[in-house]
């Protein structure tokens, strides 16, 4: 035990550079996973705190499970529960404020709270700083906080303008309360009646605040339980979570990062595996000697596993420390953005114990696992091997060994799978392809090395560097193949991702044209996070329709519901008008009849994310909670539009949305003009109408399309940067293997120098070898990447998450070739220098 640990530590310490390089890969993977997974909990935490803050000020809060407003009748049932002292039914809503809405100050969103003055005062304390409290008879009156008053430079008696479904409305400030201490949106109180009018929710409330008549904890729990029993399944205790849609997309982002972290760790594992294999080859002598003098097989395995363990532990620790730094940095960096746009206060980075455990298990586990096979191989080294002089073995393999054949079979199977067009076969084929290529790689090394070697021969003067490099590679094809595979994996990921992204971009462009192809759009401040957008009531759409020259107006309405843990955005469309100005990309169901079916009975069209997360297909039924109780909807089709791709959404008819969710507010509109319309005239008329609804921005379809396109391009370029970072481990891999190759041949290089090779020649040999390796890896990487990209495109298309059109990633291919060769040269610099500077005597003595 002790001796293994000593040996492991000594060996690692004895090769500091290599140990560092190998560990770097683990550090990187752990860094990405740990850093990124700190972010989401931190944000979730902020989110939960803000929800908690909202609900924490009253004894009990009751809301509808769907998250939507409901009839106040349920209050009577709660009222009669013993222990309930008072209750107040409110209508609360976050409303997004368009940029530059207020001239005197900037506010991102307000929280509109409609209350019945008398009820509200019995539940909470409404101490006024200035002015008076609301009265039942108040109409356009509001109470604000002193902090909002300061921001907007308002005084008692001034008017506060807010966007409502009836257009902009001015409220007179009758009272000012103390500044709010908790993070969140600035509240604006008004009477329930008025709020219902301004939000187009007649006779609806969405929160019931309850005050209990005791402070005894046990009794309060009992009363809460009684309330819970009374309100039934459709209601819940606790506040409304505004921004849950946002959390959903945050989760998606985290999953992408996790995937990248895993890929990085996978690469790390690969690098460790690679290094360990070389180490075992290099130490055959030592191992054989240890075996000869009485070390058992288990001792040898233990020795290598200890080495893995040490590296894993150190790498994980450093990676976690750096990851924490990254997490803190991002949290600090986004604090302002978070505050401004989401009105949430980010706390200190949250580290969940589970994450720490998972990271440790992953980091250390991957290292150990990667070391396992080489360790086992090491234990098979016979004592006899200690007794033979150390000559770097020349691999003599027959041209077609069984693994090569297996590789060929796998690749053929992959191609057959591809041709079958069956998605699961294609996916399986993707895997078979990679494995097949890796198996085939050693056999391909020689021909490829010859081709590239000949090419290099032209570049380098004929001083033997290219030949020597080629010889170095071909005499140990499996080692060369492993290094090349490291490059291959890195570049394959790159090329595949570029292929995928360009296909997504292509698909999205088509989709953009389809969904946003109308002549005009009325867009609210926040696209996709519809819940806090204030829409308009039916009069706006009617006015727009009456404009001469407008041929069609399609509106979109919104409600949320929750199935299990999954928040679903329900988008209400008019089955007749919608197809005239917009469209969906169908992956299941009949596009020709889907909208007609939507008009009949309760049916919905689910988007791709929804179908995937809820595991539903066309024809299935889904039960969704609504303020009118649970409703059963039939899935008519699976289809996506561009604005809601990322969030679980379903399209239902506006009729159903009105009946089950009581929502008639239009949050988004699309208009088409008649072919002969006078564009300038119509434009002026529309501008005039929309001006009264400042929450909407009237944009021409073409302009908006371009805006969205550039938005997607930007967000994807960020993705490219992340990909670049992911390719980094493959640089480490090449660097590593080259460095190891130099270390391994130290004596040989010393001998070369001794018999008259100049430093320059040695350096060139290493450089040529690196370029050869990189070229090989790049060739493999391109092949695998193109294939994988295609497979992923097919897969995503079938899943319906994104609509895709496969497009050949020319840019990716060029980038991969450039990167591959650049990496090769970069990776060679250090080892080449090391080799050239080697002291001849030292090198010859090297053991």
């Amino acid at each position: 035990m002790k001796i293994q640990l000593t040996l492991a530590a000594r060996y690692l310490w004895g090769r500091k550079l290599r140990t560092f390089l190998t560990t770097l890969a683990i550090i990187f993977g752990v860094f990405v996973i740990f850093g990124m997974n700190i972010l989401l909990p931190t944000m979730t935490h902020a989110f939960e705190t803000s929800v908690l803050n909202a609900s924490g000020q009253v004894d009990v809060l009751v809301t509808n499970k769907s998250g939507e407003a409901f009839a106040p009748s349920i209050m009577h049932r709660i009222e009669s529960i013993p222990g309930v002292q008072a209750l107040s039914g409110n209508l609360e809503r976050t409303i997004n404020i368009p940029a530059n809405y207020y001239r005197s100050g900037s506010v991102g969103a307000l929280s509109l709270i409609g209350i019945v003055p008398r009820d509200a005062q019995q539940v909470r304390d409404y101490t006024m700083q200035k002015g008076r409290f609301l009265q039942n008879t108040d109409t356009r009156a509001a109470i604000i906080t002193s902090s909002l008053a300061d921001t907007l430079k308002l005084e008692l008696g001034d008017e506060l303008s807010i966007p409502t479904v009836n257009g902009a409305v001015k409220l007179k400030i009758v009272g000012i309360r103390a500044a709010q201490t908790l993070p969140g949106n600035e509240p604006v109180w008004l009477t329930l009646n008025e709020a219902q009018k301004l939000l187009n929710a007649p006779n609806r409330i969405n929160t019931i605040e309850i005050k209990l008549d005791t402070t005894d904890a046990a009794q309060r729990t009992a009363i809460s339980n009684a309330i819970a029993a009374t309100i039934g399944d459709e209601y819940q205790l606790g506040g409304l979570a505004s921004g849950s849609e946002f959390m959903a997309s945050l989760q998606t982002a985290q999953q992408i990062f996790n995937l990248m972290g895993f890929l990085a760790l996978f690469m790390g594992g690969f690098i460790i595996f690679n290094t360990f294999r070389t180490i075992v080859a290099e130490r055959r002598h030592d191992i054989g000697m240890l075996r000869a003098i009485g070390a058992g097989r288990r001792t040898i395995i233990g020795l290598f596993l200890f080495e893995g363990l040490l590296q894993g532990v150190v790498g994980t620790a450093i990676g976690m420390a750096l990851g924490y730094g990254l997490g803190v940095l991002i949290v600090e960096g986004t604090r302002g953005i978070y505050q401004q746009f989401l009105h949430m206060q980010l706390g200190a980075p949250v580290i969940e114990p589970g994450l720490v455990l998972l990271t440790i298990v992953l980091g250390v586990g991957v290292t150990l696992l990667s070391g396992l096979v080489p360790a086992w191989n090491a234990s098979r080294v016979t004592p006899m091997e200690a007794l033979r002089p150390n000559v770097v073995t020349v691999e003599t393999r027959r041209r077609l060994n069984k693994w090569t054949i297996v590789g060929i079979v796998l690749m053929v199977a992959a191609l057959v799978g591809l041709l079958s067009q069956n998605i699961s076969l294609v996916a399986l084929g993707g895997f078979a392809f990679l494995v097949g290529l890796a198996l085939l790689a050693p056999a391909l090394v020689k021909p490829i090395a010859q081709v590239f070697g000949a090419m290099l021969g032209f570049i380098f003067a004929r001083d033997g560097a290219a030949e020597l490099a080629q010889g170095n590679l071909t005499r140990q094809p499996s080692r060369a193949a492993i290094t090349a595979s490291a490059t291959m994996i890195g570049l394959a990921i790159l090329v595949a991702a570029v292929g995928l992204i360009s296909s997504i971009t292509g698909g999205i462009n088509t989709l953009l044209e389809k969904t946003l192809g109308s002549d005009y759009l009325l867009v609210p401040p926040s696209i996709g996070v519809w819940g806090s957008d204030v829409g308009a009531d039916e009069t706006l759409a009617e006015r727009l329709r009456s404009v001469y020259g407008v041929s069609a107006v399609s509106t979109m309405r919104f409600a949320t519901t929750t199935v299990g843990d999954q928040t679903i955005n329900l988008l209400g469309i008019d089955p007749v008008e919608f197809p005239k100005v917009s469209g969906l990309n169908f992956s299941e169901g009949d596009p020709n009849t889907a909208f007609e079916q939507l008009a009949k009975g309760r049916g919905l069209i689910l988007n791709g994310v929804g179908a995937t997360t809820l595991k539903l297909h066309a024809g299935d039924a889904i039960k969704i909670p609504s303020p009118e109780g649970e409703q059963t909807y039939r899935v008519i089709a699976v289809a996506s539009d561009v604005l809601n791709t990322k969030i679980t959404s379903a399209y239902i008819s506006q009729e159903n949305l009105k009946r089950d969710f009581h929502k008639t507010e239009d949050v988004f509109m699309q208009l088409n003009l008649a072919p002969n319309a006078n564009r300038a005239e119509v434009d002026a008329r529309l501008q005039e109408i929309v001006a009264r609804y400042p929450q909407f921005k009237l944009v021409s379809g073409a302009a908006y399309l371009n805006e969205m396109r550039s938005l997607y391009t930007t967000s994807f370029s960020a993705f490219y940067i992340l990909l670049g970072i992911l390719a980094l481990p493959s640089l480490i891999a090449i660097l590593n293997t080259l460095a190891i190759g130099v270390i391994e041949r130290t004596r040989e290089i010393g001998m070369l120098r001794a018999i008259g090779a100049t430093r320059k020649q040695v350096r060139r040999t290493i450089l040529a070898e690196a370029i050869l390796l990189a070229a090989m890896g790049t060739a493999f990487g391109l092949l695998a990447g193109l294939y994988l990209g295609y497979v992923m495109t097919l897969g995503l298309n079938a899943s319906g998450l994104y609509p895709l059109q496969y497009s050949f990633p020319y840019a990716g291919v060029v980038a991969a070739v450039a990167l591959g060769l650049l990496f090769g040269v970069l990776a060679a610099i250090l080892p080449a220098r090391q080799a050239a500077r080697m002291d001849i005597i030292q090198a010859l003595r090297y053991e």
Binding site: A292, I293, G294, A295, G296, R845
Partner: protein
Amino acid sequence: MSLVQTENLAKIYGSGETAVTALDRVNVKIDAGEFVAVMGPSGCGKSTLLHLIGGLDRPTSGKVCIENVSLGDLSDDKLTELRRRKIGFVFQFFNLIPVLDAVENAALPMMLDGAKAAQAKARAREWLTRVGLENRLHSRPDQLSGGQQQRVAIARALVAEPALVLADEPTGNLDTRAADEIAGLLRQVAEAWGRSVVMVTHDPRIAAYADRIVFLKDGTVVDETRLNSQNGNGAQVIRGKMNALAE
């Protein structure tokens, strides 16, 4: 009773047309405390014999018994344990672990056997002192000369107090003086410390330190000579034998 005994020991490398018979029905006995030198032309099977006796390799047929236990009946683990406790090796090249210093290298067999590090190292120091390396206890192999490395290997071979020490050309790459020192040391191992020593060598002068010489040719034992003070200068006797055998 002899410590080591081989019965019709044979080793054939490869098979078919390329088969090489390295050893052919070899029967040798080595008594406790005896110093035996194995000699013969290059490729005659000396190393092979040593490896088989040391349980490093398995014979094609025949068997090796150490203290009447047949090595062929032992599992890999048992065989490893036997090597650890009963046998000490000195190889011609690459004897030492490069990342460990002299003391640690010499202490290895005991450490591998689970002894306490302090105890193992104390014993290693003792043996290193006996082989004359008391000044180089903490040098790493790359800081030692070839002869010094060889002496560390001898200390390591002796540290676990094995019954048998096997040395394959321990003086092969040493100068005359260093070679004499090593051979003298091995003689002492047998004479003063009562271990059996089997040493392969080409050098008649070094072989003369032994009690008995076994001559191999083409995988078979062709002659055995016991050296004693009666038959005069050992080296001379050996040279004579070698010349006779070469004809």
